[in-house]
Amino acid sequence: MTQTLAVVLVLYLALVAVLAVSVSLGAPLTRAVQTGVVVAEVMLVVQAVLDVAQLLGGSQPTEPAVHLGYVVVSVLLLPLLLLPVELHGGGAVRRGGHGVVALACLVTMVVVLRQRSTA
């Protein structure tokens, strides 16, 4: 279950990153990116809850502390990076903001993959 969700999450984050890059290049898709980020965060929280449930149910990762670290970071990364960002400003503010969204999605993809590899 969590394995499938992780694959879906990685593909979904890649899609949101592509959308964010297209907005920073001028495409009028700001609303789609915002919705995409919120849905991604919800999926990350669901994945974290399932992961913690598996740990409580007796699942034994090779390095539990490292795995738990990735679980926590996967949930916190998008809010930490994106809450201070303005997506509706003009010019450089909007382009830079969506550049940060793309970067945040790519980094979160790596964290999700590391989270699965340490499970």
Binding site: L81, P84, V85, E86, V93, G99, V100
Partner: protein, 151 residues
Amino acid sequence: MTPDLSPTRVERSTTARSSISGQLLVAAYTVLAVAAGARAGVQIVTRFEEAPLPYALSGGAAVVYLVAAVALRRPGRNARRTAMTALGVELVGVLLVGTASVFDPAAFPDESVWSAYGIGYGFAPLVLPVVGLMWLRGQATARTQVSPGPN
């Protein structure tokens, strides 16, 4: 129409939020702060006695990245000075620790964030402070050119 050159307006225009490179720089330092902080936290809590020096250095690096991320995000002269200090400390740290880890590997039984010039993080710890200091210098130069001189 005369451009608004009031100090507040000029100060606002030189914050990280006003430029693409500034926003990406803040995001990159936030990522490094989280990555180094989480890694150092786990290492210090679970196996500090195995390699105290590298793990303590990683913890220190995480603090430097956090200070840099916050200072780069804030407007004002003090924030700029703090950011320059943090980036300078990072650059000196990565050069010193990187060189020490290459020439005295026995002192580093496990990698720190700055080992081998930050190779574990794609050399970002070496490249980012240089880019950041250049960006801060560019902002300071732009600010000097825009600000009206004393009468």
